[in-house]
Assembly symmetry: C2
Homo-oligomer: 560 residues x 2
């Protein structure tokens, strides 16, 4: 604003070139309108996730042209992209940094990298708000509830269907888990971040990164999108109302931009209410862009857990009365990202990834139970619950920035675990991984295995594999399964990253996504969980960069 006024005043001074001169050195390099449009799109797709739309930083660093702050010890600090300059920024974008910045020299061209280096020296645009009216205008009710099937019109075992994000295709595949056959491929938003199931298990909800939300009815002979609505310009999460009496009644969606969550009718997606998440961080500073990361529905209360990234505030939102909306805002740590329930489904465990902590929320009392120190940048997905031979019930998270899986002892209401009480909310064991770059861990109550991927690891051997730990002997090194090799696909130039282990309903198969590059074939590789032997490879051309694969039963009941 002051900058703006300054420029305004300069113009008022009869456009004196000498007055402009001094400031010009501090100004951003030139860009054409066309370059700005292209750079904006690349920024949204590749950079905003970690650095934020307003570039104030989150998991990634602040990328404003100029920033100034006072450190805890009173030291005045300043910096910014203008100070770094184009050449230095090009290097950082190309080769990444020790701090966790990924290299983009194999993703963007040299010209694109130069363009992005100039783009992030411009003052960030504030994207438009998105109101309830905007949502309503975007809402498309394709099939009213009354015109939908009254019963399931197909013979598919819906509970074992997998809803699979086909990231770069902007589509969703529904795959029959019993036959391993693709049942249906449907259009969705761009790069669907997650799919969630209605309490009834009939509807699949998706949300694209572009904010488009769809509801797919699996009761048709051929699954059909029955409504769509837009949540904003950048969205990551949806969940439904799961509590008894509210099944299929509401859907909640969380957006990165604008920073808010939206409540919709669960069967029609009709917009009902928007609630802003703008507010104070746990440090008491106002933040203009507190993005909604993960959202989950409680099984024990009519509540959603809404995790607000930049503020470190965890909101419990009671959906019994939308017009008189009750919520509890729990101070935890910055920056909240993903998480899952402990085995009792009373405690929600969420990564505060820039704080290297996991917050445990007691949803029964509506209070923070603990902040658990983990290794660098925990990324649990939804985590994995099992019974530890020494410490009783535990929940685990892998890390993007460290080569360990942290095993955290959780509270248990079961008196036989009372002896572990002093270990509650502590890391009781660290399982060694061959490297950092883990995104997901997974197990199943019927399994004795813990699966972990490492797709963000720079080494081909590690990124193309998954690692399987034996829960009966956690000191044993994990088995490595070479997913790229097992897929039977020809070796590709780019790394084929293996990610997101997901169990079937029975808990005896594990499905792994294997990303092809821009042009290479992708696959879903299925293993027998008991023998760890290859069981099936799904390589249809429709399967483009499969990412999240949500098994209907396990997603409905939060089995992990």
């Amino acid at each position: 604003m002051q900058n703006h006024n300054w420029i305004g005043k300069t113009l008022a001074l009869a456009l004196l070139p000498m007055a402009v001169g001094a400031a010009w050195a501090q100004s951003a390099p030139e860009m054409t309108a066309d370059e700005k449009t292209k750079a904006k799109q690349i920024y949204f797709e590749r950079c905003a996730g970690c650095h934020g739309v307003l570039r104030k930083g989150a998991t990634g660093k602040n990328l404003e042209p100029h920033w100034a702050k006072t450190a805890a010890d009173g030291t005045k600090l300043e910096g910014g992209t203008l100070k770094l300059g184009t050449a230095r920024l090009e290097k950082i974008i190309s080769y990444g940094t020790e701090g966790g910045m990924v290299n983009y020299d194999d993703i963007l061209t040299k010209d694109e990298i130069n363009m992005m280096a100039r783009y992030i020296q411009q003052t960030p645009d504030v994207p438009p708000e998105f109101s309830l009216k905007d949502m309503k205008d975007s809402w498309k009710l394709i099939v009213p509830v009354a015109e939908r099937p009254k019963k399931q019109m197909n013979n598919i075992n819906l509970k074992n269907v997998f809803a699979v994000t086909l990231r770069d295709a902007g589509k969703l595949a529904l795959i029959d888990g019993d036959t391993h056959k693709i049942w249906k491929v449907l259009d969705t938003g761009y790069a669907v971040h997650i799919s969630r199931l209605s309490a009834s298990g009939r509807y699949v909800y998706t949300v694209g990164r572009d904010g488009l939300t769809t509801i797919i009815d699996m009761w048709y002979e051929d699954p059909k999108t029955v409504a769509t609505v837009r949540l904003g310009s950048d969205a990551r999460s949806v969940d439904t109302s799961k509590f008894k009496g509210f099944e299929d009644k509401y859907l909640i969606g969380g957006t990165y931009w604008p920073p808010q969550f939206s409540i919709m009718d669960g069967e029609t997606l009709e917009p009902i209410k928007i609630v802003s998440t703008r507010g104070q961080t746990v440090d008491g500073e106002y933040h203009p862009e507190p993005r909604v990361a993960s959202i989950v529905a409680s099984h024990i209360k009519p509540e959603w857990v809404v995790n607000v990234k930049e503020t470190g505030q965890i909101m419990l939102v009671d959906y019994t009365d939308i017009k008189n909306l009750k919520s509890t805002t729990i101070e935890s740590a910055k920056f909240l990202h993903d998480g899952g329930w402990d085995v009792s489904k009373r405690y929600f465990m969420v990564a505060a990834n820039a704080s290297n902590k996991v917050a445990a929320v007691d949803t029964k009392t509506g209070k923070l139970a603990a902040l658990v120190d983990t290794a660098k940048i925990p990324h649990p997905g939804r985590g994995a619950n099992f019974m530890h031979p020494q410490f009783g019930p535990v929940w685990t998270t892998g890390h993007l920035g460290a080569d360990v899986i942290s095993v955290i002892s959780t509270a248990s209401d079961d008196p036989k675990h009372a002896k572990h009480k002093d270990k509650n909310w502590k890391v009781v064991q660290e399982l060694k991984m061959p490297g950092a770059g883990n995104l997901f861990v997974k197990t199943h109550p019927k399994s004795t295995h813990l699966w972990a991927d490492a797709p963000m690891n720079p080494e081909r051997e590690i990124a193309e594999s998954v690692y399987v730990y034996d829960l009966k002997d956690l000191n044993k090194a994990p088995a490595r399964l070479d997913v790229a090799k097992d897929s039977g696909l020809p070796e590709s130039k780019a790394i084929r990253r293996a990610t997101h282990p997901e169990y079937n309903e029975a808990g005896n198969e594990v499905w792994i996504s294997l990303w092809g590059g821009k042009t290479d074939q992708s696959a879903i590789v299925i293993y027998d969980d008991k023998t760890l032997k290859l069981k099936k490879v799904i390589t249809d051309p429709a399967i483009v960069t499969p990412t999240g694969k949500f098994n209907v039963f396990n997603t409905m009941h939060d089995v992990y």
Copy 2:
């Protein structure tokens, strides 16, 4: 922002004067830095209350250089101060409008009016945020709790003390209600908007419009300010934690800028937490400046009622656990301002003044009980409760924009009023006033009178008087008491406005503030409530523009 980019791009185009020309016609008139500073201060003191710091409008109209919106019927509308231009704006500021804008030709000079007309064509500055750290840095603990008196060290009947805002002096007078003597005059923030009492009745809290909050300890022989803290740059409300077990534990303060509320320690004012009120209006649009209007503490729950003006959202904030903060956000109507409890203290009645409505909140269930249509711009202060001969318990509000007092039937848990149930939350009677411009109505459980002022009325006779209704015969015209005349002060050129009737503890005296002009003497004029005869005039030179006068007992117990 787009404007900013546009200017940036223009500069980049080698400062071509012709490219600038076209846009310049749309630009604001020139102002010197000195003019801007002066205009900013006048805007804050005189204009921001109704139009908002960001000039998006509230009780007053939008004053942005350019605005565009879509009406409910789809019509595109646009306007702004640039379109109106300097000459037209000067006229509006000088003479006011039919729409409710006050004339400023007797308050500002011609040059000042011209300066303000130019100022409001500039892009509004966004004032800085105010963080928990800023609050902590501003906090001054003058006397720690341990060093304060252990018992009352004076013989004053504290329950009948009046805390009187001396608006233009930036001070507070404590006046002994038994002797009518000024006990102590203390420095406070600028134009103290309200004073509140601690649950114990020992501490007086004030909040200035400049955001300065003070706590005054009345147990000293000579009352003393024991701590101060700043809440932001524009504040209007404070209240304490009144519920059993939380007496004197917390203070809450509400700010206009930044739009947020702050929770402090009740005895030391140590800052604990800040909560932003930025968010969606009841229409589902994001608002960047939802100011905190009135705040009251519940007597029946450990909760504060926080009324957010621009959004029309009423928050019930539970103070039992500040780190895991529970709240209920109730949709009502725009723009919320002032209000008070019904006689049962279960329902809070708050004016939505731009909607010409009063919202009744059921604080027991945490739901909106009703939206009651009133006359134009209700301004109840805290309202007045009495037993209506026909309709049972009622609560009343006067209006800034209409010459009536609306008598609203409230719900009663008393079975003898069950027959009035169909009248609940309806205006059951309108009492005629001699004109509009009312700010406050007041009665007392021991009185049979209802008092009403009209200080904002343009007629001298009306503005200098108060009107007293007989509750036993509401059809009778009110008695007019000529407060200016009764004060015995010499007639002044400017109108001496009479405002804010307030009862003493016993409920047998009514105190009225009488504003002197810039230089004329002000007074507090005290009447016998039974006989309506003049009882006493307080005219000490220290009494500068007395405004709110808060009787300790009546304020502690919300007696009105």
